[in-house]
Amino acid sequence: MSVRMAELMMGVCTLLISLGLMWSVTSNDLTVGWIEGRGPGAGMWPFWLSVGMALASIWTLVRWMRGITAESRNNDPYIDPETVFIVGITVAAIFFLLVLTSVIGLYFSMMLFLLFYIKFIGKHKWPVTMTVVIAMPVAIYMLFEVALNKYLPRGWPFFENIFLHIDDFRYAIFS
């Protein structure tokens, strides 16, 4: 897809989103005008902002049609194949990081994520990879759970139990 086509599609998408927002406000029976004795309705602010968004999108589309924007005259690929690979694989890796977080917990999923990214994408040596794979979760655990008392997702009960042992170990050391 060319940059020119991408700008058209983005303009259409932003217009549809704006219309969707306007529909969302009105379909939820939010008042977009003045309520006597109470002031502006709850829907006034988001509705008129959405109208502005729609107008800005139409303005962009008109400029696209008239070839005013630099993007509307650019027929280069929007994302080149090399970028598709690196960006695609990065986004997919983060996607699986989040999916696995709900299953095996954030610590184990971040270890898998780091292993995949550093060893298989970065092609680094095992010592470097393992140093980061182990040091990062330990640092996060120490900062967030020990210092901040902020508990991060630990996944299904089996994986959560593993961390309960780690917590016991920590309390035994620090108490």
């Binding site: 002031g39 502006p40 709850a42 988001p46 800005a56 929007y78 990065t90 971040m110």
Partner: protein
């Protein structure tokens, strides 16, 4: 004046408290590192590390983040000079002469000039800040909701008029940021609004950090991955105490441009849409125009490194002026700082000076200290940073991604928000590729609730009469300036077309 000096002295004493001093060192160190890494700047650092600051009291937290902001401005020059890749957009102008200097074996001179000029910029701007902030805050105490709303309009108008980006795309970016801020329960009636797909998670709204980390963490790293593809070539730098001493003797050659850049940077930094990047570019342009040796700029003139570096540091301090006194951020970084202050339970704006003087003057005092600390750390750690910069992007990027996920979850306690962060980061990246500016959206999501509240309070107070915004002189002035700013690019564009047609 006496009261300012005594408050400043109290602030300085406060910044020397062990925790605050530790935060200054830590912030400067983190900032130097973050600023030096290609693809990361102060805004990314502040967005990603904001959740970590909940560990300490608000004053220590803002001192840490302000020191980080400072440090990042210093650090940006390191990668601009040694790698030829600006650590952040604020250090773009430093590449113009810093890179040729490194190529000709004068990297040490460029690095020292950048550090010293940054120190000059930081010092001059913090003195100006101390002088301007109290009277501006006192003046702003007269503001009611009408003036607040008009000021917000002015902030958004500055992005449209002075941002230099595509106007309809900038407007769209501002409006979508405001709409995102409106998601959740209505601030006055309590009615649920914009609950997309009836997902209950939207009832709590979209926290600004989700958008900020999505755009400046995920989106920025993807953007950098696309543009560098890991291919970074570093120049060798010979840097030791002997070289430092030699270079200290050369300050005279770039002192005037550093002072000029500092003044310019401070005032440009106070404008909401401008900030450190245009300030550094303008300073570079002025230094070149006024130089007797203008032709040598771009080929390795040390003044071409000093001028933008002084300006970007001064602008970072300048951008805090409207944030603290008026509650309007002067840059995307200060927009996130402002959001942080709201999370800490503070209300940025003129009342902050009266209600939380310890916080304000502690921060101002810390700026003086942070400036000294950063220049010392910068010079001492340059050899270390140069080694760290050799860290491959394929190690740095996954670490940043993990910090983004952890940072968002730790702030909101919801996995839903981490998914939203990924989605917004990807959308932000795709839009940025089409020249949609993303900074206005972040500014708008922070200012959104304040803007809506000010507008609705004004309208309720005036029984729905919109003329209330035009009847008060300060509000009217702000609105007229806002209209002029929005009209300026449109009118100048039309005049240019007419001229071209008549020629």
């Amino acid at each position: 004046m006496d009261s300012i000096l005594s408050l400043l002295a109290a602030g300085l004493l406060q910044s020397f408290e062990p925790l605050n001093l530790a935060m200054i060192f830590l912030g400067c160190f983190a900032g130097l590192f973050i600023g030096a890494m290609p693809g990361l700047g102060s805004v990314n650092g502040v967005a990603i590390l904001l959740p970590v600051t909940f560990l300490v009291p608000p004053t220590a937290a803002i001192i840490f983040l302000a020191a980080l902001y400072y440090g990042a401005m210093y650090g940006g020059a390191v990668s601009s000079i040694t790698l030829g890749i600006p650590g952040a957009s604020t250090a773009v102008a430093t590449v113009f002469d810093g890179r040729p200097m490194a190529q000709s074996g004068r990297a040490d001179q460029a690095l020292m000039a950048a550090a010293i000029a940054s120190f000059i910029g930081g010092t001059i701007s913090v003195i100006l800040f101390t002088g301007f902030a109290p009277p501006l805050a006192a003046f702003a105490l007269k503001f009611g909701p009408q003036e607040e709303f008009a000021l917000m309009l002015l902030a958004f108008a500055t992005f449209i008029g002075l941002g230099g980006d595509d106007i309809p795309k900038t407007i769209f970016s501002i409006l979508i940021g405001l709409v995102m801020a409106a998601v959740g329960f209505d601030i006055i009636s309590g009615q649920p609004r914009l609950i997309f797909f009836d997902m209950v998670e939207f009832q709590r709204g979209i926290p600004f950090l989700v958008l900020a980390i999505g755009i400046y963490g995920i989106g920025e790293m993807i953007w950098t991955l696309e543009h560098t593809k890991g291919a970074i070539q570093m120049h060798k730098v010979d840097f030791g105490w002997k070289k430092i001493k030699e270079n200290l003797g050369r300050i005279k050659s770039y002192l005037p441009v550093s002072v000029m850049g500092s003044m310019l940077g401070f005032f440009v930094g106070t404008l909401p849409a401008a900030g450190a990047t245009p300030a550094s570019l303008m300073s570079y342009g002025l230094a070149k125009s006024f130089s007797k040796d203008g032709d040598s700029f771009g080929k390795g003139n040390v003044a071409g490194v000093a001028a933008p570096e002084a300006a970007n540091n001064a602008a970072s301090t300048g951008s805090m002026l409207p944030m603290l006194t008026l509650g309007i951020p002067g840059s995307p970084t200060t927009a996130i700082l402002l959001g942080g202050m709201i999370i800490w339970g503070l209300r940025p704006g003129p009342l902050l000076f009266a209600e939380s003087p310890d916080f304000v003057w502690g921060l101002i005092g810390s700026m003086y200290v942070a400036n000294f600390v950063t220049v010392l750390l910068n010079i001492a750690l340059i050899p270390v940073f140069i080694r760290v910069l050799a860290m491959p992007f394929s190690i740095l990027a996954p670490i940043i991604f993990i910090l983004c996920v952890v940072g968002v979850f730790a702030t909101t306690d919801r996995m839903f928000d981490t998914w939203l962060m990924l989605l917004l980061g990807c959308i932000g990246y795709l839009m940025r590729k089409l020249n949609y500016p993303v900074a206005p959206a972040v500014l708008a999501i922070v200012l959104g609730p304040l803007t809506e509240r000010a507008m609705r309070q004004s309208l309720i107070g005036s029984q729905g009469d919109p003329m209330t915004f035009l009847e008060r002189p300060i509000s009217l002035t702000c609105i007229l300036i806002a209209v002029a700013l929005v009209s300026y690019p449109l009118v100048s564009n039309m005049m240019r077309k007419r001229k071209a047609a008549s020629a």
